[in-house]
C-alpha cells in the first residue's frame, strides 16, 4: 500500500475503502518510519508555534522553551517506541495526528498563559499558575496509560470478556459527579469529581468504557436486535421487547441531561449508542427510532428545562444576549471574525477575551490566530483520525473489534462536531472538551487511551496471518519492500 500516506484527502474520508483488508494477505510493510517522520513534523510545528508566541510578545526563546519542547519530543518518541515494539503493524497516521493535535493544544494553552500573565502584570495582580505545565504533566500521565494499554493489552478481544463489568464501571463513573462529597458542580454542570486536590471529569473515561460495553453487548445481542417483526412503510421494525436497551440508553442520557445538566455528554452517548446499534444490526429502523427518541427528548428538554431553552435562545440570537448568557459565543464569533482567512498569527490575536478559551473554546482561540485556513486544516486532521479509525474497523475481522473501533471513532467524530459546532454557532452550545486540544487531564488521558485502543485494533487488522503474535519478534521480522 504505497498510497497509504496519500490517501488522506476528503474522498478518502468520505468513503472508507477496504483495501487494507484485502492486502492483509500479502506481506504488510509496517510504515513505522513514516510514522516517525510525521511525528517529527508534528513536533516541529509545535516548536515553531511556541517560537511564534515568543516573537509576538518580544521574548527570546529561553531554556524553558527548549526543555519543554524536549519533553514533548521525548514523550512522542516513547509512544512511537511502544508502538514499534507492541503494535508494529498499527496504522501509522493515528499516532502523529493525535500528537499534532495535542501539541497544538499545548501551544495554544501556553499562548493563553502568556496573555493571562500579561494581564495580571498590568493589573498588578499576582501571576497566575501557568496551565501549560499541568497540561504537560497530564500528557505525561496520558502517555504512561497509552503505553500501558498497548503493553498490557495484547489483544483487544480480551476486553470482550469484561463487557458487563466495564459497562457497570462506566455507568457508575457517569453518575459519580452526582455523588455527595466528591461531586462538584462547575459553571452549572455537575460533571466533575474532586478527590484530594485533583478534579476529574469521569464522563471522559466512561465514554470509552461504555463504548467497549456497547460493542460487547451488541455483538452478543445483535441477532435478536436485527429480527424484524413488522414492516411499516417498507421499514422493518424490531420487536417491541428488543426496544429495551435503546430505551435504557435514552433514559440514561436524559438522566445525565437532567441531573448533571450536561447537554453535550448526553447527546454524545445517545448518538453513539444509536450509531453502534445500527452498525451491529444493519437495520435502518434503529436510526429512525433513535432519531425519533432524540427528537422527543430534545423537545421534552426544551419545554421542561430553562437551561436548555436558554441555550437554544442564545444559539438562535446570540446578539440579544451579547453581554450576559451569549457573551461567550459572541466573543467566540468576534474572535473567529478577527482571524479571518489567514488568522491574526499565533500570539497576535485576543483569544483571551473569550471566557474558557483554553477548555471549551480552544477552537475559537485557534480559529482567531490561525484563521479559517488553519482551522479547516485542523478539522481535517480530526477527519483523518476518524477515517483511520473507521478504516481499522472495516479491516479487522472480529465483530467485537469492528464495533469497538467504529464506536471509538464515532465518539471522537461526534464529540468534535458537537463542540466545534457549538463554538461556531452551527448548533446550540454544549459543554464538551475538544479532544486532545482542550486544557484538562481527564479528556487528554481518555482520548489517548482511545488512540491506544484504535492502534491495538488496527495492528490486529493489518497484521499478516503468518505473523506470530509475539510483538518482540516483529521487530526482527520487518522486511521493507518498495
Amino acid at each position: 500500500m504505497p498510497d497509504d500516506l496519500l490517501a488522506v484527502g476528503l474522498p478518502g474520508i468520505l468513503a472508507v475503502t477496504d483495501t487494507a483488508k484485502r492486502s492483509t494477505a500479502r506481506r504488510q510493510p509496517t510504515r513505522r518510519n513514516a510514522e516517525l517522520l510525521m511525528l517529527i513534523f508534528a513536533w516541529g510545528i509545535g516548536v515553531l508555534g511556541t517560537l511564534q508566541v515568543g516573537w509576538a510578545i518580544g521574548r527570546d526563546p529561553d531554556a524553558g522553551l527548549w526543555i519543554t519542547s524536549g519533553v514533548v519530543g521525548a514523550l512522542a518518541l516513547i509512544m512511537h517506541g511502544v508502538v514499534r515494539l507492541r503494535a508494529p503493524y498499527a496504522d501509522p497516521i493515528l499516532l502523529p495526528a493525535a500528537t499534532l493535535l495535542t501539541i497544538l493544544g499545548l501551544v495554544m494553552i501556553y499562548r493563553l498563559d502568556v496573555a493571562a500573565a500579561r494581564r495580571a502584570e498590568l493589573n498588578d495582580n499576582p501571576l497566575p499558575t501557568p496551565d501549560v505545565y499541568s497540561q504537560l504533566t497530564w500528557f505525561t500521565v496520558a502517555v504512561i496509560l497509552f503505553a500501558s494499554v498497548l503493553i498490557l493489552l495484547r489483544d483487544h478481544r480480551v476486553l470482550q470478556r469484561y463487557t458487563y463489568t466495564l459497562g457497570l464501571v462506566g455507568l457508575i463513573l457517569l453518575v459519580l459527579p452526582l455523588a455527595p462529597v466528591i461531586g462538584t458542580t462547575v459553571n452549572g454542570a455537575t460533571l466533575w469529581i474532586r478527590i484530594g486536590g485533583f478534579s476529574f471529569q469521569p464522563a471522559e473515561i466512561a465514554k470509552i468504557l461504555l463504548t467497549i460495553f456497547f460493542a460487547g453487548y451488541l455483538v452478543e445481542k445483535r441477532d435478536s436486535l436485527a429480527l424484524v417483526r413488522t414492516k411499516v412503510l417498507g421499514l422493518g421494525l424490531p420487536r417491541l421487547k428488543d426496544l429495551g436497551p435503546l430505551v435504557v440508553a435514552w433514559l440514561v442520557s436524559l438522566a445525565v441531561l437532567i441531573f448533571q445538566r450536561d447537554l453535550g455528554t448526553s447527546l454524545l452517548f445517545f448518538g453513539l449508542f444509536v450509531a453502534m446499534l445500527y452498525i451491529a444490526t444493519q437495520r435502518r429502523s434503529w436510526l429512525v427510532i433513535g432519531g425519533a427518541l432524540f427528537m422527543g427528548g430534545a423537545v421534552l428538554a426544551y419545554y421542561m428545562f430553562g437551561h436548555v431553552r436558554l441555550r437554544v435562545m442564545v444559539w438562535l440570537d446570540p446578539w440579544t444576549y451579547a453581554t450576559d448568557e451569549g457573551y461567550q459565543i459572541v466573543q467566540s464569533l468576534f474572535g473567529l471574525a478577527n482571524g479571518g482567512i489567514l488568522g491574526a498569527g499565533i500570539g497576535q490575536g485576543f483569544p483571551n477575551l473569550v471566557p474558557f478559551a483554553s477548555t471549551d473554546f480552544i477552537v475559537a482561540a485557534l480559529g482567531e490566530e490561525i484563521g479559517v485556513t488553519g482551522l479547516i486544516a485542523l478539522l481535517l486532521v480530526y477527519a483523518i483520525l476518524v477515517e483511520r479509525g473507521l478504516r481499522a474497523a472495516i479491516a479487522v475481522r472480529d465483530s467485537f473489534g469492528q464495533l469497538l473501533a467504529a464506536g471509538l471513532s464515532i465518539t471522537l467524530g461526534l464529540q468534535v462536531f458537537v463542540i466545534v459546532g457549538g463554538v461556531t454557532r452551527l448548533i446550540p452550545l454544549t459543554g464538551l472538551t475538544t479532544p486532545f486540544l482542550s486544557y484538562g487531564g481527564s479528556s487528554l488521558i481518555a482520548n489517548w487511551i482511545l488512540i491506544a485502543l484504535l492502534l491495538r485494533i488496527s495492528d490486529r487488522a493489518r497484521r499478516p496471518d503468518s505473523e506470530v503474535l509475539s510483538p518482540d519478534d516483529a521487530l526482527t521480522q520487518v522486511v521493507r519492500r518498495t
Partner: protein, 480 residues
C-alpha cells in the same frame, strides 16, 4: 458490518463539511459584519495595540501616541489640545473618534492601502504594524493668534492660503481638551463628555466649519462681485443710498446702521457703499441684479456646496426661492443666507487670488512610519469666481474698507489689508453675530481670514470692534 460503517462515515463526512462551511461563512463572509458590530472590543484593542501615527503641524506633533503600562498599550496625547481640537478631534474608547482622528484613521492606524509595502515588510519582519503620520496645512502661529483672539468669546476663525486653499488656521471657542476624552479611564471620559454635552455654549461643536450664521454685511462682497460680473456696474457707478430702503411689496424698510443716508443727495458710489457698508444701496442692488445672479455668484464662491477638508463642513446656503423683499435682505447677508467661517474665508480668498477659488484642505501630506512622504495633496481649483479684473477692482474696494471705512481695526503698519466687516441679526431676540473677513497683503495675499464671533450682542460696529482685531492678529501671525 462494513456497509453501515461506510454509511456512518459518509454521515460524519457531511458533518465535517457542515463545520467547514460554517467556519468559512463566519471567518470569510460575515467577518466584516462581525468586526463592525458594537461591543467588539477586538477592533479597538487592536487599534490601541498599535502605535498610532502622529498628527503634525509643521514638524511638531499635536497628537501622538505614547506607550503606557496599561492593557491598552498606547495613549493618545495632544499638545495644546483645546487649541487644535477642531482639527485633531479626539480618539475615545467610548465615543469613537472625531476630526482628523476619524477621517484619517486608516492612515494613522497604518491600514490604508498606501502602506501596502510597509505592511508586507512588517509582516515578514514580525514587527508590530505602525501607523503613518498626517501633516496638516496648519500654521502654528496663525492658529495660536486665532485661539488667543477668541479667548472668552464664542465663535470660530478660519484662515486660508488663497493661492492653494491650504487651511492655515481653524479655531473654535469655547473648545475642549481631547486629552481627557482620549484617556483610558472610562469614568472620567463619560463625566467630561457629559459636562461638554450639557454646556449651552456647545464646546464640542466644530464652530469654524459647522456653525452656520447669517454672514451679514460680509456677504456684500458676494453681491458686489455679482454686480461687477453683470458688467452694468463699476466701483464708480452711483447707486441710490437713502436713509431707508422700502422693501418691495411690503411696508418694511431696510435702514442703514447709523440711520443716515449713505451720501449727499442719497447717492453713493459702489466703492463708498462698501466702505461704509451701506445697507440701502446693497438692498437696491440685490433687486437690480435679482436672486438668480446673486445665487450664481454665491455658488461660484462655494455656497450650496458641501466641502470635505476632509472633515465634513456644513453647507453654506443662499435661499432657495426668495421674493423681492427677501432678495433685498439676502443681498446684505440676512434673511436665510447662512455661512460658516470657512465659507466666508473662501470668499475673501477668492477675491485675493485674482478670482480663482481653490478647494480648501487640511491634510498636506501623508507620511509612512519611516516618515517618507507617501502622498501630498495637490491644490485644486474649485471655481473661477470672478474675472481677474473684477477681482482687482474688488480688492481695491476692500482695501478702501480698511483704510477709509468700517474696517479700521484691521490696519497693519506697512501692509495693505483688504477687508470687510459684518454684523448680522440671527433673529429678533438673538444677539448679533460679528464678522470680519480679510486678506493681506492685498496685491498678492499670503493669507485670507474669516472671523466669526457669535453672541456679540453689540451695535452695528461690532464687526470692526470684536472681529477685526482678531483677524489682524491672524494676518500678522502669518505675515511676520
Amino acid at each position: 458490518m462494513s456497509r453501515p460503517i461506510r454509511r456512518i462515515s459518509i454521515v460524519l463526512g457531511l458533518l465535517l463539511i457542515a463545520l467547514i462551511a460554517n467556519v468559512t461563512v463566519i471567518q470569510v463572509v460575515l467577518a466584516g459584519d462581525y468586526r463592525d458590530r458594537p461591543g467588539n472590543q477586538r477592533v479597538l484593542l487592536e487599534e490601541y495595540d498599535r502605535e498610532r501615527g502622529p498628527i503634525l503641524v509643521g514638524s511638531n506633533p499635536v497628537a501622538r501616541s505614547v506607550e503606557t503600562g496599561d492593557t491598552l498599550t498606547y495613549l493618545r496625547e495632544y499638545d495644546n489640545g483645546p487649541m487644535y481640537a477642531p482639527v485633531t478631534g479626539f480618539y475615545s474608547l467610548i465615543y469613537g473618534a472625531t476630526g482628523l482622528e476619524r477621517t484619517e484613521n486608516r492612515v494613522l492606524t497604518g491600514s490604508s492601502p498606501l502602506f501596502v509595502v510597509d505592511r508586507a515588510e512588517q509582516l515578514f519582519a514580525g514587527r508590530d504594524p505602525q501607523g503613518g503620520a498626517v501633516t496638516t496645512t496648519l500654521n502654528a502661529r496663525a492658529q495660536r493668534a486665532a485661539f488667543n483672539g477668541l479667548k472668552g468669546k464664542k465663535g470660530g476663525v478660519v484662515a486660508i492660503e488663497p493661492a492653494t486653499g491650504r487651511i492655515l488656521a481653524s479655531v473654535q471657542s469655547p473648545s475642549f481638551d481631547p486629552n481627557i476624552l482620549s484617556s483610558h479611564d472610562p469614568n472620567s471620559i463619560r463625566q467630561y463628555y457629559a459636562t461638554l454635552e450639557s454646556d449651552p455654549a456647545k464646546p464640542l461643536l466644530n464652530r469654524p466649519i459647522v456653525s452656520l450664521n447669517p454672514p451679514g454685511s460680509t456677504f456684500k462682497i458676494v453681491t458686489a462681485a455679482a454686480a461687477l460680473a453683470s458688467g452694468r456696474f463699476t466701483p464708480d457707478t452711483v447707486l441710490p443710498g437713502p436713509r431707508a430702503y422700502n422693501l418691495p411689496n411690503s411696508t418694511n424698510k431696510i435702514r442703514n446702521w447709523n440711520g443716515q443716508a449713505c451720501g449727499p443727495n442719497n447717492l453713493v458710489t459702489l466703492r463708498q457703499a462698501i466702505a461704509i457698508s451701506c445697507n440701502t444701496a446693497f438692498a437696491w442692488l440685490g433687486n437690480e441684479l435679482g436672486a438668480e445672479a446673486l445665487r450664481a455668484q454665491a455658488q461660484l464662491m462655494g455656497f450650496d456646496n458641501s466641502f470635505q477638508i476632509p472633515l465634513r463642513a456644513a453647507t453654506s446656503r443662499f435661499p432657495e426661492d426668495p421674493d423681492a423683499p427677501q432678495t433685498a435682505m439676502s443681498a446684505i447677508g440676512q434673511f436665510d443666507v447662512r455661512a460658516t467661517a470657512l465659507q466666508m474665508a473662501m470668499v475673501a480668498a477668492a477675491v485675493g487670488n485674482n478670482g480663482t477659488l481653490m478647494e480648501p484642505y487640511l491634510v498636506q501630506e501623508v507620511r509612512g512610519p519611516d516618515l517618507s512622504i507617501l502622498q501630498t495633496t495637490q491644490p485644486k481649483v474649485f471655481a473661477e469666481s470672478m474675472t481677474p479684473l473684477d477681482a482687482v477692482q474688488m480688492t481695491e474696494m476692500m482695501v478702501n474698507v480698511v483704510d477709509n471705512g468700517t474696517g479700521s481695526n484691521a490696519r497693519i503698519e506697512g501692509v495693505r489689508v483688504a477687508g470687510k466687516t459684518g454684523t448680522a441679526q440671527t433673529g429678533n431676540d438673538n444677539p448679533a453675530v460679528a464678522w470680519f473677513i480679510a486678506f493681506a497683503p492685498a496685491q498678492s495675499p499670503e493669507v485670507a481670514v474669516a472671523v466669526m464671533v457669535e453672541d456679540a450682542g453689540a451695535p452695528e460696529v461690532s464687526g470692526n470692534q470684536l472681529a477685526a482685531p482678531i483677524a489682524r492678529s491672524v494676518l500678522e501671525a502669518v505675515l511676520r
